[in-house]
Symmetry: D2
Subunit: 142 residues, 4 copies
Amino acid sequence: MSKISVKHFNEAILSELPWGSDLGLRLDEVSHGKAVMRLPYDDRSTRPGGTISGPHMMLLADACMFAVVLTMIGDVRLAVTTNLNINFLRKPSQSDLIGTGNIIKLGKRLAVVEVDVTEESTGKRVAHVTGTYSIPPAAGES
Amino acid sequence: MSKISVKHFNEAILSELPWGSDLGLRLDEVSHGKAVMRLPYDDRSTRPGGTISGPHMMLLADACMFAVVLTMIGDVRLAVTTNLNINFLRKPSQSDLIGTGNIIKLGKRLAVVEVDVTEESTGKRVAHVTGTYSIPPAAGES
Amino acid sequence: MSKISVKHFNEAILSELPWGSDLGLRLDEVSHGKAVMRLPYDDRSTRPGGTISGPHMMLLADACMFAVVLTMIGDVRLAVTTNLNINFLRKPSQSDLIGTGNIIKLGKRLAVVEVDVTEESTGKRVAHVTGTYSIPPAAGES
Amino acid sequence: MSKISVKHFNEAILSELPWGSDLGLRLDEVSHGKAVMRLPYDDRSTRPGGTISGPHMMLLADACMFAVVLTMIGDVRLAVTTNLNINFLRKPSQSDLIGTGNIIKLGKRLAVVEVDVTEESTGKRVAHVTGTYSIPPAAGES
């Protein structure tokens, strides 16, 4: 079972990420080790061509990874990204983007998470992300 | 010599990145294969703790990589990021962030770029980024 | 359907990778966009502790990614790795390692592949890899 | 000043990496936070075309990163790679490869290291690597 709720993440945590809440970033679903996050299409997030920019895909993926980690360790704000690697796969349509994050490994000190970024309009994958989180002492699992 | 000017990048290119220009993102210096870009400190870019968020460091690095590539191939908007890898080194202070990008390799089809992200207040490195750009046919060098 | 056979890969391709064939590296299964490769346990591949070393996990993953790409474009030796990112998850047991590679995206110029490296003795994931291949002109798909 | 000597690394540490010593892998120089490592050209390390294979560049880079970390924390065998990201830049000549590693950040729990892989015959860069090491408790610096 997830150690955070969708409601708690969207209210208590996103409220501290003004750029995220301002863009309508929100968590749609969580379960233990899994999170689904949405970045609504917004003209302010575009690049030439009118689609959501690369940095906004990274923003969605980073927030999604954070949610995945919190589903397993609870609301530990001190968990921080240490590495993020993203491959951009195709130019998205003018569509909401969905980040689907899954835990790869939760260790005592590090968590490794994978996020698929898809466009909602077609379900096609537009980016693939892997990242590492540093877990504060006592919050991790072996 | 750079194939784009600071003025051209800041006026013609950033004007198409509303989220960048809105945050005051701007190119400070360019030379052939090198670009220095600035992300001003802004309360809207923060995370809990009041420092500039990870996604905003990625935004700065991605735009800086793009500028580095354009210094060598000119204003080719179709150059797109294919891979970005970032290591977060330390929590920045409440300071402008400076991205210093250098070309590692410009090939016919791919460019590899490295970006150091430092905080201006102390000059300390807060993130290190490497990325790959896909170069449209005919724009690259061997 | 795969555009290469297990037999062809193991005989014609691995024979040109002396370090791979010497270690008993071999392809076990292929289908379109998927490859399963094995690195047998060997005392010569170990690190302190007697388990297979990190570089040998990278070797397995890189060869597996190559096989995945060839299942889709056929025996195109000029396809070369341009980027590889690996997260090491846990120390493997003294066991054969299995690389299971799946295509993420095959484009005209680049292929993105994901490889899970597991230890056969327990089925546990020991490393996770994503990589990019450069596809020679005319061999790729859109 | 380096906390390990070239002699100690080449004798005490490489002797536990049979695949490295068998290929003649050796440390050439160390200073605090820096290491220069050599992989001699060897027919057994080649790929089609007769140049040193990608996996052998990764092997050189990983061992070089390890040496860089040990110059700062001493002979701590439990330091392990957690992430490695490599960009392949050009096909090397039939030449020894030189890995020049520099520390980017040594923290309490993680070290980030950068390695340039060059071919000795021309001095050209053939690969660029960044990696993360996990530092055992009490061995790191703040």
